[in-house]
């Protein structure tokens, strides 16, 4: 910057030498001054008479702008962006935490469901087992009962049969006695009849 300032200074005198008339005019009428300046044929951007003023005002304005940017604007926008960034990160953390909770809830639900199913199965199994064993027990009881009844009936039948068979001898004796009495008219002792019956039964 100091180099260009010196350059501007050296060229300022040059410019004044170029147009002494214009320098005089500048003080009186600014509006018309550029007419005179233009008359010298210097291309306006290369007109070195204003270089010092341009540099000074650029230094002032750009310096002020730089200070404003670095002290006010950049910390402010940086702060806004950082706050937003933090907020988004925080929200993402919160979201992932909630997702973890939801996953845990689903897992525990699944587990509950599985254990409830298992419990249901075991209840059903035990109920079935109980019903089965009760049925078996009932059946065996009924069977035992029936067997007892059958045995009782059989013994009773055997009783009746043996009694009936025992009666057969007596009936045969009586019948034989009656028959003999009718046929022969004599009397036969009971002992003889019995022996005869026995002998025929033995045949």
């Amino acid at each position: 910057m100091f180099v260009t300032a010196a350059y501007a200074q050296s060229t300022t005198t040059e410019g004044e030498a170029h147009e002494p008339a214009a320098a005089g005019e500048v003080h009186t009428e600014t509006g018309v001054a550029h007419e005179g300046e233009h008359g010298t044929g210097v291309f306006p951007p290369f007109d070195s008479t204003h270089f010092a003023s341009q540099l000074l005002w650029l230094a002032i304005t750009f310096g002020l702008f730089y200070v404003l940017m670095s002290k006010v604007i950049i910390p402010r926008i940086g702060g806004i962006l950082e706050t937003r960034h933090d907020r988004i990160a925080q929200d993402l953390d919160e979201a992932s935490r909630l997702k973890g909770e939801a996953d845990a809830a689903i897992a525990s639900y699944e587990q509950e469901l599985a254990s409830a199913k298992a419990k249901g199965h075991s209840i059903a199994d035990s109920a079935r087992e109980a019903a089965k064993s009760k049925a078996t027990a009932d059946r065996t009881a009924v069977e035992a009962d029936l067997a007892k009844k059958i045995t009782a009936a059989e013994t009773r039948i055997a009783d009746i049969k043996s009694k009936a068979l025992a009666d057969v001898g007596a009936i045969a004796e009586e019948t034989a006695t009656a028959v003999v009495t009718q046929l022969i008219g004599g009397t036969v002792t009971k002992a003889e009849i019995a022996a005869a019956v026995k002998a025929s039964a033995g045949n």
Partner: protein, 250 residues
């Protein structure tokens, strides 16, 4: 005189000031420098005053320019270069606002003055040199000695590197200045055709349509150039600052 295309670049004194025989007058150029600072700083200040978590449209414009420059600098000069963020951001916003203000009719274009762009370029290169030597001492001179160059070619390469380094402030300033100057002159010339042709009567008015379309099209192009030149200036600033931060990695 109003048809003279260079008339718009004339510097007029508004408040004559003279210190020690040097002319420090407040000119129309100074006025538009002040306006540039006022508009740019005012825009950034007012749009961000809400500090909204959810930005308004204008606030997001300010935030976008911040992030745009921040990412540009981070890519160009790495995270160590971020200490130059206020500088690059100020340069970009100042040049962009000055360029855009110059697009208004009858407004003065600050960046069409070679001395202004040259001063900004010297500011950039001066920062690079001062910071380079401050941070790396004589190691900063490694910038001029690229790696992997055969010994025979080394003096030649070093000479080329030094010339290219010294031409940087010139190319940086002339690029911005010439673009703004040429754009405004072109615009003025085509607009001048419109008025001078339409003064020729019915046929002239018909013929004036073509330069009128050109004027409209060039105006659109100039808005693009305004942004592009501010962008190019900022990108090159980032690249040059990268040399100051990492002189060995050239």
């Amino acid at each position: 005189m109003s048809n003279d295309p260079t008339h718009q670049f004339l510097v007029n004194k508004i408040v004559p000031i003279e210190i020690g025989g040097i002319d420090f007058s407040f000119t129309n150029a100074s006025l538009f420098m002040v306006a540039t600072v006022g508009v740019a700083a005012g825009f950034l200040y007012l749009t961000t005053s809400q500090r909204g978590l959810i930005p308004t449209r204008l606030q997001s414009v300010s935030e976008m320019s911040y992030e745009f420059i921040a990412s540009m600098l981070r890519e160009g000069a790495g995270s160590h270069g971020m200490k130059f963020f206020p500088m690059v951001f100020s340069l970009f916003m100042f040049i962009l606002t000055a360029n855009l203000l110059g697009m208004f009719p009858y407004f003065f274009t600050v960046t069409s003055q070679i001395i202004v762009t040259f001063a900004l370029a010297v500011f950039v290169i001066g920062t690079v040199i001062l910071y380079g030597f401050y941070k790396h001492g004589l190691g900063f001179l490694k910038l001029f000695v690229p790696h992997g160059v055969p010994g025979v070619l080394l003096p030649l390469v070093v000479a080329i590197e030094i010339i290219s380094f010294l031409s940087r402030p010139i190319s940086l300033s002339v690029r911005l200045f010439a673009n703004m100057l040429a754009g405004h002159i072109t615009l003025k010339v085509f607009a001048g055709f419109v008025t001078s042709l339409s003064a020729l009567g019915a046929l002239g008015i018909g013929g004036a349509i073509l330069p009128l379309i050109m004027t409209v099209a060039i105006t659109g192009l100039e808005f693009l150039v305004c942004f592009l030149q501010a962008y190019v200036f900022a990108v090159l600033t980032c690249m040059y600052l990268n040399d100051a931060v990492h002189p060995g990695s050239h």
